[in-house]
């Protein structure tokens, strides 16, 4: 998989007026709700430190914790599978479906399953995966894909959704009232929940000590998927582990406040193995690598694996809030996507993503697990430069560096620039420049090189 270059993709998205208006309104709302509930907690910074430390500990001891998790989960009656990549994970889920003669599964909203394109893999195996999260359902019905981690259909408005429902699950629906739209999806989904023989979920957390899986959600559809069908398959990225059950105390405070700006999320489901006569009678847990052990090898980059997918960094990002998620061309958009995707799929396949940031640092400021996103971005930019090898930019940067290493050369360069700008400068401003600098002058004037530089003024003082 290769991500198409961000600058052009972003330019395309920026032209979508509806998208920009929706994004601004939605991210503003979530952002200020988040700020309000975070400000309520006197120990927020201590919680962030704790979250970051627990995650760092998990990554340092991942090998033992995974085995501990497998042992505990197996003892509680779960079947644990290990998947090196998306293809292996998909094959495992498809096989389980086949063994149970299942051709339809109900799904909890899950980025991990999107990452491995599980729905497509299942479709090839003759199994229909039904998304049950309201927004995910909308996207699935329309063959569209998510543009926000938390609000996947942030780029859609309610009239569009009404029209879509009229074409698909609710022929004849005329109202675009949110309650009516929700009711239409409810009627459609209830039927699927009740007949489903198999549910598929991702996970927010897995507890090594107990083998417990945890899903945090708002709508309750997730709980339907994880409790009604007799067979349940949960796919866990290996970085989702927490050492102890008590660690949830930290993360169940950090996540909802950062994510939806709520003190507590409406539904937190936890399950440990199987319980006779209650809930699914067969539980499979797939532990997924898919590039994560490679990320783990990079000392600077590995902190991206701390991410709890709260999406707070998206909502404060000056880039994301203008372009939306599709411009990033990956399942993980925004600042976290810019540092995680290139590491998961290889920098050569997503080399423009680390540059899709102004380095403003707003993401780092809100991240509940203190991922130093700007630092990782710089680290990945250096890798992108290395991977690209010889290039015009590299040569230019070398020459610029060499010029800066001598005041004499720098002074000469100032003089050359002053002469070179003559055809473009008027009244101390440059209004048009040739490519690649035309990128600047498309929306901005450029201050011209001064007649007298500071250094010559100082020298003549």
């Amino acid at each position: 998989m290769k991500v198409s270059p961000f600058p052009a993709a972003a330019e395309h998205e920026l032209a979508n007026v509806q998208l920009r208006r929706n994004l601004r309104a939605a991210t503003d709302t979530i952002q200020s709700k988040r700020a309000r509930v975070v400000a309520e907690l006197p120990d927020w910074e201590a919680l962030r430190d704790a979250g970051s430390e627990i995650k760092a500990d998990v990554l340092a001891r991942l090998d033992e914790l995974l085995v501990e998790f497998e042992t505990a989960a197996t003892a509680a009656g779960a079947h644990v599978h290990w998947a090196r990549d998306g293809a292996e994970a998909g094959a495992i889920v498809a096989r389980i479906a086949r063994e149970h003669d299942v051709d339809e599964v109900v799904k909890v909203k899950s980025l991990t399953t999107d990452e491995i394109q599980l729905n497509d893999v299942l479709a090839t195996a003759g199994v229909r995966a039904i998304e049950t999260d309201f927004a995910e359902l909308i996207l699935q019905l329309d063959g569209d894909w998510s543009s926000h981690i938390l609000v996947p259909a942030i780029h859609r408005n309610r009239t569009e959704i009404r029209d879509l429902f009229a074409r698909t699950i609710a022929p004849g629906i005329v109202s675009d009232d949110p309650a009516d739209l929700a009711e239409a999806s409810r009627v459609y989904l209830r039927e699927r929940f009740l007949r489903a023989k198999m549910g598929v979920s991702g996970a927010n957390f897995g507890i090594a000590e107990t083998g417990t899986v945890c899903v945090v959600e708002s709508e309750g559809n997730g709980r339907m998927c994880t409790t009604l069908p007799p067979v349940l398959v949960s796919i866990l990225g290996i970085e989702k582990l927490l050492p102890r059950f008590d660690d949830l105390e930290v993360f169940l405070q950090l996540l909802p406040r950062s994510s939806t700006g709520e003190r507590m999320n409406p539904y937190t489901s936890l399950w440990t193995g199987v319980t006779s006569g209650d809930g699914p009678q067969e539980l499979h847990i797939v532990l997924l690598d898919n590039g994560r052990t490679r990320v783990l090898r990079d000392e600077v980059g590995r902190q991206a694996l701390h991410c709890i997918r709260c999406s707070a960094c998206l909502n404060v990002c000056p880039v994301y809030t203008r372009t939306g998620g599709h411009a990033y061309g990956s399942v993980y958009p925004g600042p976290i996507g810019a540092i995680l995707t290139p590491q998961l799929i290889g920098i050569e396949n997503a080399s423009s993503l680390p540059y899709a940031s102004t380095l403003c640092g707003a993401c780092y400021e809100v991240c509940p697990v203190k991922i130093d996103i700007p630092r990782v971005l710089l680290h990945l930019r250096a890798e992108a430069v290395r991977a690209r090898g010889r290039s015009a930019e590299r040569l230019t940067m070398r020459i610029v560096g060499w010029t800066f290493e001598s005041a004499r050369r720098f002074t000469l360069a100032q003089r050359v620039a002053r002469t070179a700008q003559t055809p473009f400068a008027r009244g101390g401003l440059v209004r048009r420049l040739p490519p690649p600098l035309s990128g600047w002058t498309r929306s901005r004037d450029l201050r011209a090189v001064a007649k007298t530089s500071f250094r010559s003024w100082w020298a003549g003082r």
Binding site: P318, T358, G401, A407, R431, W440, D445, V449
Partner: protein, 228 residues
């Protein structure tokens, strides 16, 4: 006190008046300012673009030029933040102008007069990396005749981001448009900040819009002695 002035490559070339204003303010307060002529660039451009080796070379060069001063001052908070990170030994002696005045020299009133409405844009690096806090605001509040007007979404980025402004020109322009809207809506005649690079972006956007609002570095306001 003998203060070394790091005027920055951008300031030296495009905004000499900012550097001159720093000299004016500090000399007015009775300090000796020295401009070491060997200086060029701190290496931030290279560090932010993925060339850490070149960046480190330039930071080392900076250290050898400024190592002997009691204090180093620069009108660019992002350069200060960059130097502090890569030259930890020098870090306690390197200041952005407002930090030097308020925190090191304990001055909040520099005897300036600027009878205009001014909006202050806290740049991302001054806010989150260099952490100058409210030092610029304390100085502005003591400028005679100056009316400080609130700026909507003040803490949001202006969209500059170094090479981002050219590499991702469309996105950078979209972010800038919102910043310029907010500045124009504030009713200010001037927008000020403590980073020449952000002022290059904001000023360039404001000039292009011809709305009659100008971008001006904090140092130039502090140097002004205009009467109403």
């Amino acid at each position: 006190m003998r203060i070394g002035l790091f005027v920055t490559c951008l300031g030296d070339t495009l905004y000499p008046e900012t550097g001159r204003a720093v000299v004016t303010v500090l000399e007015r307060l009775g300090h000796e300012v020295v401009f070491p002529a060997e200086q060029t660039c701190c290496g931030q451009l290279h560090a932010n673009s993925g060339y850490p080796d070149e960046a480190l070379k330039l930071v080392r060069r900076f250290e050898s030029i400024f190592g002997s001063y009691d204090a180093v001052v620069s009108p660019s908070s992002s350069c200060v933040g960059h130097v502090r990170e890569l030259a930890p030994e020098l870090a306690p002696r390197v200041f952005e102008l407002s930090e030097l005045l308020v925190n090191r020299l304990g001055v909040e009133d520099v005897g300036a007069s600027f009878p205009h409405r001014v909006a202050y844009h806290p740049t991302c690096h001054s806010l989150r990396v260099t952490k100058v806090g409210d030092a610029p605001l304390r100085l502005l509040r003591n400028v005679r005749g100056l009316e400080l007007v609130p700026l909507e979404r003040a803490e949001e980025c202006c969209g500059f981001g170094g090479t981002f402004a050219v590499k991702n020109a469309a996105t950078s322009s979209a972010i800038l448009a919102d910043k310029c809207d907010a500045i124009e809506a504030s009713g200010a005649g001037y927008c000020t900040a403590v980073d020449g690079s952000c002022l290059l972006q904001i000023g360039g956007g404001l000039e292009r819009r011809s709305g009659g609002v100008r971008a001006l570095h904090l140092a130039e306001i502090l140097a002004a002695t205009e009467s109403a």
